[in-house]
Symmetry: D3
Subunit: 277 residues, 6 copies
């Protein structure tokens, strides 16, 4: 059960409106690694969690915080849209900045949402749940989380440099900080789990299920052997169970691919006739 | 530039057809973490790579291998679809196994692809590029890769237990092994990069951009403090730059959210009139 | 800013597992009118709200409640998935119920989420934000909300009849009740707004913008005149500004559609040559 | 069975080409509430209609009209694209209006459709059937229709103010009028149905299915009680079956959410081991 | 402008209900090559047509017919859904056919549409406009149309063999016939256009734009030279402008792919540091 | 199994960066008929191929080449993004070209991919597998391929005229040439197959399945008879099995559409009550 407090977690006031930037900021609200994604990802992980209470609590704390981040960014976007020049078509012939805005703002901000945020990314594509990860294996999922916070913080840093607006930069400085925390917390939790279970997910696969002859070899499928120089091509593997090797000329173990002809009811081009060509 | 050798990387012959399992196997071909996803993810990372040759070569080797994995799984799916009972409607009233197949196989296998694999997940949803990650920051992307291989191996393990077919199990045993390698290789590469740059991505964010007061605190947004017991709530943070703390009652730093009323041309419900209610 | 209490708003315990029903229940979690939709719809309406505080509070109260409904249904789905027969392939030849389950359950429940809920509808299609509505005009949006709660309650009622499980029925009886409240609350708020502004949205369109000759006529574009008998074909219109009429043979006011030929750089099939045929 | 007359329902001639506006106008052709949506929504409602002929005729009349609206708007878009400066790259350095157009027009208009309309919204996202509603319950569906016409007319009004072109404004004045009619007709039909069945959809739910203790209470899930002042928080409910109340501190009736641990074949992180941390 | 006649183009009465088949039949209504696709494809081609009247009339005739085919198939689906056993959960344990239906029918038919057709394919994925083609080049588009009718008729033939129901087979026999006509008509129109313009689309590309050294060579990018035996590897090319050749070992003309390092503001992993590893 | 050579098939070096053009070029990488589409389409056709080796080899040769085309275009896009003015917000007020770029470039190029190509079309919509065709019937599929290469070459020609950059034009001249080859090769293969099987796909439909009375008639569903003049309205049909005719006033053979009322458990608006209105 959830509750809402009518205050923002951090202030979200731009110095001045900027509809072009509003469009760009949508990426960290409704993009692949925006706040909707992490909120939904953590909530589903939490709701589906069948394990230790401390992990579940950590997930729910963070997921609930992220709903509040959606609120902050949505607020910032609405404020950046104040005074958008959707009304001044003719003036654009004279002022290149207005021209850029008219051509460049997300039309949904003007036509669909009435100068409010939309659940879309910076290209105007609606958010969809194909972005999120909740597998029931928390080591796998914490890796998904660490990735999400890494991609997210990278995008925030890029957005930070794309504006001179002090108010926007302040909000982004807060998000950079929270993404630092979230990367560190998932990192710490991952270390705990890897120490218990080992590096390879899932830990529960019995050795006899795996064709272990193929478990520690890097195959050279692309011309050139630069990758042979890396720490992944020789030495003990991080999971401690194997020794990396490098295979310059990978063999094929599967033979020719030959499929039976389809039955007549499939109405495929009859293969026998075709062979007579 | 790419070349194709007409042999499978590993054999892909089921002991017997099984259209229901063919549907399930689609997940690791066309699902969020299927082989299309990793192939496309690595190829785009490689093509966009602007850095060190050994990383780029590693990425291209692996991406090229994954196209071959698509081929193996597509072949297996086609063979599982041989003799699918799409023709024997009436018989189903008597045989529950045929009933299960008729009700449960992916109709696209019968109607659309002519008993071949489709670029869809196990629920029949087409693959889309919103699944993949290629950010230009290789530490972030290698975390995405480690996650993808973790989720992928987890799904392979689950599929392994869902069949008694020895031929299927053999192909899956090979995929388990390759996912072991790929997890270990990305893990090793991540270690290298973290040792150089530190844990927090991106490494290039200057300290003054970040509101560092908020960088190492876990906020308790959900009732109960189980998460306080974790390694993420006290002690030195993994990036070595801060000390974790725990805030039981997180404050709001942003004040009330108040938006200006929209201009009249937005045709929103006029707020002034509404206030007179 | 949001907070989570670690209790469900209502109990969500089925009498027994039922993976087929788990798949169906996904509709009211991740479908077009599922709880994710109403939660996101109300939150975006609230965050974008630029008007009267009592409406905004109503929206935020309801949106926050709906996140809790997602939690209840996700919990129910996870419990319905306990003991799913993903492991008993061979047995299916004998037991039609297991056959139905194996063929009919959502494969994502077994392969992707580890027996947890997924953010998808009952056909396995991921939720997307193209479902939701937040226009900045609250009368329009409250109509969207009334529709969403009507469709939602209809689906809950249909699901109610599709099970004999007492535990499921109890949770659905709670959802039926909350949907009753939500329909009634949006209905009451709509009445208020319509009394102030009139029936036609948006109220702020000046009469001179509208080709009012066409504002109250039902055109008979389909053979047969049954629709002429309705209250929408004669009498005063609900907005009180016109009189309904019925036009049996609608005229075309637009003339022929003729487009200029495309410029040569479009590389369209050259129309002049074509005309010489 | 359908027939086409080679005339437009209303004229669709802009005073001059305007590729930026062509992009914006796509919203009411291929957007969530564009003409494709209402055409498809009404046609599916009509084809699935199992009830009274006068409703079915009304639905089919309106659905068939909307196909003609698609035609009008598609024609207008094609005309707005005449002379689009897709050919004058270099000139843009000098003329800001051409710069705005080059940067701002939908690239599909130039590359994909050859200066014709596309089945996309104003952000370039293809139309999809997840937008439409046809439930088999006509009161629910007429609410969906009233919402669609409200959102649609709002968008037309916003687009009206975004241009000075007299020809565009004339076509929009016709659409404003038809949306007025359609709002009024669905409103009238809704009144009829509500008088018969009552306000709450579906009407056929027996009282004993519903946990009626929860049917008329507004829960205060967000801080602040502004919503208590509304007509939805006290007095008789619109359906006449209850009395609204307001609950300042909503209780949780569901207890803790606890899920059984997953079976070992799910390869989830083993919860027992984890607890030993 | 469009009109609707209240009769079906052909009868659509199954001998008996069959919810499993209703799900399958959705493919030719809402699938990639279903009737919605061809209707929308032809209407957009017609509305965007800037050329010869006889082509435009042909397109509009066919597009308008296809709306009527949607109606026929939607009607058939609704009738197949009569008496669907959505109510008889418990009985399934005994009757395998009911089990197959319960597990196998599209849940949307029961929960969302009230036993009506849905705008989805046979896997339950909503129709989207990314399926259709309207490029403004009618030779290209007629090839798209010939393909669509070929894929469509193939799917109808497969569906024909998947049922014993005489009523369904009759409707499909009509669709097979209309697809025969449509394939033949597009074929005839293509011949006309190819005779005028030649085989290669678009015809208007000047020779000097094209690197004609590469215009008629088949490159052997896959091991084995079976393709060398085809009519596409030697002899005069169909467009009459070249001679096919076969290159067993294709050269690379592009040199190494090397990208400049990204600017620092991209926060990519710094390539210089990385090179020092 | 696949291999990668570290050279581009053709050079991909623009004379100068151009972020606006980079956005447009995405269409032929990640659009409906971009290189991802043809690569995936041919690979799936090849992997599912159950017929003659020479066709399969042709398909695999071409599919493998197309992966290399993705690489070329991705490389070109990355180079066009060098020096993109994502950093110079303020300058835009003075320079209209920078304004056009800021407003017009794909934000994903700046925020998401770090100045690399993205798997999206020119409007920023992610590629999805609903674009591709692999039916198991090679005549149908070769028609899909001929269409894809026709649409693709048309788009390349349009892009060619939208730039003055010599480097871009050179790469496009190579793509024009390869599309010429691919159109010609599929054309030649189609001729072979049509000579064997006839024109109508699938060839295997027995005459008695088809309602042949309807197989060669063009119905006049749109006002005006211009289409009667075409080669598709009289004379022998291309498949040689019929004679085209033209029907000015198509009859309805299906009678009224009437559906049974839904059962009460569907909770549809009760039709009987409604009729009493």
């Amino acid at each position: 059960m959830f509750f809402h407090r009518k205050e923002l977690q951090f202030h979200a006031k731009p110095d001045r409106p900027d509809p072009l930037y509003a469009k760009k900021l949508q990426e960290i609200l409704g993009g692949q690694f925006g706040e909707i994604s992490v909120a939904m990802q953590y909530l589903f992980q939490g709701w589906n969690s069948r394990g230790d209470a401390k992990y579940k609590d950590l997930i729910m704390d963070t997921g609930t915080e992220e709903i509040g981040h959606c609120e902050m960014i949505a607020t910032m976007i609405a404020r950046l849209l104040d005074d958008a020049p959707v009304h001044e078509q003719e003036a654009a012939a004279k002022d290149p900045m207005i021209g850029a805005i008219m051509g460049g703002m997300n039309p949904h901000h003007a036509i669909v949402s009435g100068l409010g945020a939309v659940p879309e990314n910076s290209a105007g594509v609606p958010w969809n749940a194909g972005y999120i990860v909740a597998s029931g294996n928390i080591l796998a999922d914490f890796r998904a989380n660490l990735n999400a916070e890494s991609q997210g913080r990278l995008q925030v840093a890029r957005l930070y440099e794309m504006t001179e607006d002090r108010g926007i930069k302040e909000m982004l400085s807060f998000l950079l900080a929270r993404d630092t925390m979230h990367q560190n917390q998932w990192y710490a939790a991952i270390k705990e789990l890897e120490e218990q279970q080992g590096v390879t997910v899932p830990a529960s696969v019995p050795a006899e299920w795996e064709a272990t002859d193929f478990s520690y070899t890097l195959y050279n499928f692309s011309e050139g052997e630069e990758a042979k120089a890396g720490s992944w091509a020789s030495g003990i593997s991080p999971d401690g169970r194997g020794t990396f090797s490098y295979d310059s000329e990978p063999a094929a173990y599967g033979g020719k691919q030959e499929l039976n002809p389809p039955p007549p009811y499939m109405h495929s081009t009859p293969p026998l006739q075709v062979k007579k060509l």
